[in-house]
């Protein structure tokens, strides 16, 4: 376990260095981008004097290693710098956006887990259902999340009056109760969560299906059936329980992919999470914000990997103890 932790720490340090370096290696400059595409809005064009002042203010006039040292020292003190584009502390923006991303990420993963595993369990002894679902979910697994988002937006949300098209809640709404507020939030997350769930369900389905199929051959199942146990009991107590390890591992391993999907889907539905922040940070070369978002995403994925490892160990131990 100690070795694993050291590996994670090493991975974190490498990621930290890459996060700092990559944005600065990107061509483009936070203060040079002023052109626009048709329909977009133009920008204030800074004079050379003003650019110099701004570079000095954000510490971008210093040598690379000095910038790295300053950033590291600030980060250690919990200061993630000032966003060049949003003109607010990076930490403040991230804290404001992170919960929204975590909500649709967590909700879609949980739903995908339940639906994917449920469908796999249902198909275990229904060959016709498996024959139908397998190709459908195979195709769905290849659809990019933003595409399911766009399709849901135009085919569902735009046609159903009560489904909000965008945002995380009704702007300027006055709620009569906490429940009304929660309802509004849940309703707004319906489409983003559905879009993410649709593309995540197949992962759990295939993992669970493979796991179940391998268990179906086990002698203890034959024994259980020979004992006359009910099919429902066999599925929950024997099949599901013994197939839990790869499914739980899949849950945590899915976090990395789901983070990427969340970022794309948030942009489709103008959902105020990290996705929209990341898009704008890349577009405007907002170095401190890029570092912040990448760092947060990396921590999220590393923690998930560590959690997957931990849960697997405990489940394995549990199985050994059976």
């Amino acid at each position: 376990m100690r070795r694993k932790l050291l590996m994670l720490l090493g991975a974190f340090l490498v990621i930290y260095l890459i996060n700092f370096t990559i944005p600065r290696l990107m061509p483009g400059d936070p203060f040079d981008y002023v052109s626009s595409a048709a329909g977009d809005d133009g920008s204030v064009a800074y004079s050379e004097e003003q650019k110099e002042q701004l570079r000095a203010y954000y510490g971008l006039d210093k040598p690379f290693w000095e910038q790295l040292g300053d950033t590291l020292w600030s980060n250690l003190r919990g200061d993630f710098g000032q966003s060049i584009h949003y003109r607010r502390p990076v930490g403040e923006v991230l804290l404001e956006r992170l919960p929204w991303s975590l909500w649709i990420l967590g909700a879609s993963l949980a739903l995908s887990l339940v639906i994917g595993v449920g469908l796999a369990l249902w198909c275990v002894r229904r060959r016709w259902a498996d024959r139908v679902l397998y190709p459908v979910l195979s195709a769905l697994a290849e659809v990019p999340p933003f595409l399911t988002g766009v399709l849901l937006l135009f085919l569902v949300a735009a046609r159903v009056a009560w489904i909000p098209l965008s945002g995380a809640y009704t702007a300027f709404a006055e709620y009569g109760s906490l429940w009304a507020r929660l309802g509004d939030i849940l309703l707004h997350s319906l489409m983003p969560v559905a879009a993410l769930t649709l593309v995540t369900v197949p992962r759990f389905f295939f993992t669970a299906r493979a796991s179940f199929l391998s268990i179906l051959e086990k002698p203890y199942l034959t024994h259980a059936r020979a004992k006359g146990l009910r099919e429902g009991r066999i599925r929950t107590r024997y099949i599901l329980r013994n197939a839990a390890t790869p499914i739980v591992a899949r849950l945590f391993l899915s976090v990395g992919g789901a983070v990427g999907g969340t970022i794309l889907v948030e942009n489709v539905f103008a959902y105020p999470g990290l996705g929209t922040v990341l898009r704008e940070a890349v577009q405007y070369r907002d170095y401190p914000m890029l570092q912040g978002v990448f760092l947060l995403s990396a921590v999220l994925v590393l923690v998930s990997l560590a959690a997957a490892d931990l849960v697997n160990r405990r489940l394995d131990g549990e199985e050994d103890g059976l």
Binding site: A38, S43, A45, S47, R87, L102, S166, A168, A171
Partner: protein, 535 residues
């Protein structure tokens, strides 16, 4: 330990859901805290205003609407200018009073007299002490939108406070744009900012207390929603709406159809559909967006020969850019740079027709090979392809190199290009403000802005003299005359190629609110303060 696996899974899932829901609850708080002037607005009855609420497309965080915290894109500036007042404003014809009721000019001296009842949104009177303080403060801390210059480029020499209402600002060197520049910086409340050392991070008390016609009553950066409420202490006229709200939408056209927003862009392809509806009104941003082709003459010295430059125009089918890329909404670019429809447009500029035979005669056999830099936007790539086709047919080998816009801009600023395609809005703005930086050898931008920079490696004393003279000329008619001479010369010498200008349109429902306008210098109706005033 037997059930720890199950528990771990359950707890993880429950935790994620709870965290999300709790976060969701917290996130609906309107941010802004104590900075938003809570007691400043006591909205009068909605009947005072033409409409209760105007809703526009939001969803993007353009920063807090104060002079130091809004972001540098147009909508960020526009929101800040709703909250903060400047001395003057622009209407369809020229400069009009805003916080200053009158003004006069005498050489380098510009004297402004404030409205007697001008005050800030916290009720404090707005006097020339605040104007003077703002000048001093901006010199030390330049705001995002900065018409006064910075460092060596600071345009003010000194000021003289005559009394509480009148101030004379003396500039280092007056030119035709000085009044506009002095009239457009926004006034800060001295009593709030005099104790603030770092305005770029300040979000304490009064950080959104403005001097404008609307106060910011809600700002939610995460949702990109803003609410502005008519300030009942405003000194100069009545606002058109009691509230202006910017709300997040995923598809603006759908939102307009559903009545969620009251104005939006009208796509060229749908013009016939919407214009047949008598309740739909349109504000045309005529030729406001444009594409130009820059040549780096240091990298491509062959093109210093005028016949070759003329052949470049002849090789490019610019009408097809208008027809196929702009869907007919626009015009072929004027070789004199200023687009058709502008007050300053000279209709006598040289016209260059598409003439592939003439282009081939001039360019074929010269062994010319160039790289065309462009952005990776769909329209940019389509136009770059049309340019490539035209030049290739004329015998020039062309390689198209595309990058994202930020990279393209930096490469242009660095001079790392041979030919570069650049698109930007604002062509319908006041042309004199940009012609000098494009065509004067002494004042042209190099390395600071791809949309306002001049041609690298090209020099023309006559063009420089005209560009400088028109900028210094304060008599309007004389300036227009000089300006048109400059356009004619530019069209003859063509150091920069204008490919085409695109018109875009904003549509609104006339039966709800029809106050949308464009000024003589800015065509974005949604970003003009006077669009939100009862006129």
């Amino acid at each position: 330990m037997k059930h720890i696996g199950k528990k771990a899974v359950s707890l993880t899932l429950a935790g994620a859901l709870s965290l999300g829901l709790l976060a969701g609850c917290g996130g609906t708080e309107q941010t802004g805290g104590s900075g938003i002037p809570s007691g400043s607005e006591s909205p009068a009855a909605a009947s005072e205003y033409r409409v209760d609420t105007l809703r526009l497309e939001g969803g993007t965080d353009y920063g807090a609407p104060n002079p130091f915290l809004h972001n540098s894109r147009g909508p960020g500036t526009a929101k800040m200018r709703l909250v903060y007042g400047s001395l003057l404003e622009k209407d369809e014809e020229g400069d009009v009073p805003w916080l200053a009721e009158s003004w006069s000019m005498d050489g380098n001296d510009y004297t402004f007299t404030l409205f007697e009842n001008a005050r800030f949104q916290d009720g404090e009177p707005l006097t020339t002490a605040d104007v003077a303080f703002t000048l001093d403060y901006y010199q030390e801390h330049p705001p995002v939108t900065n018409p006064l210059g910075a460092g060596e480029g600071w345009i003010v020499d000194h000021y003289t406070v005559v009394d509480g209402q009148t101030i004379t600002i003396t500039v280092k060197e007056a030119d035709a744009d000085t009044l506009s520049n002095l009239g457009s910086f926004v006034i800060l409340p001295k009593h709030i900012w005099e104790n603030v050392d770092d305005p770029y991070t300040y979000t304490g008390d009064g950080y959104l207390t403005g001097s404008g016609a609307y106060s910011c009553t809600a700002y939610d950066g995460a949702a990109g929603s803003y609410e502005f409420t008519a300030f009942d202490g405003w000194c100069n006229g009545t606002q058109g709406a009691e509230k202006i709200q910017f709300v997040p939408v995923s598809d603006a056209l759908l939102a307009f159809e559903n009545g969620e927003i009251h104005i939006t862009d009208l796509p060229a392809d749908l013009m016939d559909t919407y214009l047949s509806d008598p309740t739909i009104g349109v504000v045309e941003k005529a030729n406001d967006f444009g594409y130009k082709l820059l040549i780096n003459y240091e990298a491509c010295p062959d093109f210093l020969e005028l016949p070759l430059r003329q052949a470049v125009y002849a090789a490019i089918d610019r009408q097809s850019v208008v027809d196929s890329v702009f869907r007919g909404a626009g015009t072929v670019g004027s070789a004199g740079y200023v687009p058709q429809g502008s007050l300053y447009y000279n209709e006598d500029v040289v016209q260059y027709d598409y003439d592939p035979e003439a282009a081939r005669a001039a360019l074929e056999g010269r062994g010319l090979s160039i790289t065309l830099l462009c952005s990776d936007g769909a329209d940019d790539l389509a136009i770059a392809e049309l340019i490539r086709n035209g030049l290739t047919a004329a015998g020039v080998e062309v390689t198209v190199e595309s990058h994202d816009s930020a990279t393209r801009d930096q490469m242009v600023n660095d001079g790392s290009y041979q030919f570069a395609l650049v698109g930007n809005g604002g062509w319908g703005n006041n042309p004199p403000t940009y012609m000098r930086t494009l065509f004067s050898d002494t004042a042209k931008f190099t390395g600071t802005s791809p949309i306002y920079m001049g041609a690298i490696g090209y020099s023309n004393p006559e063009m420089t003299a005209l560009a400088e003279a028109q900028a210094a000329e304060t008599d309007f008619d004389a300036r227009v005359e000089l300006f048109r001479e400059l356009e004619l010369l530019v069209s003859q010498e063509i150091p920069i190629f204008v490919i085409a200008n695109q018109s875009t349109y904003s549509m609104y429902r006339t039966d709800y609110y029809d106050g949308w306008m464009k000024t003589y210098a800015y065509q974005q109706a949604e970003q003009n303060r006077l669009s939100y005033m009862a006129r």
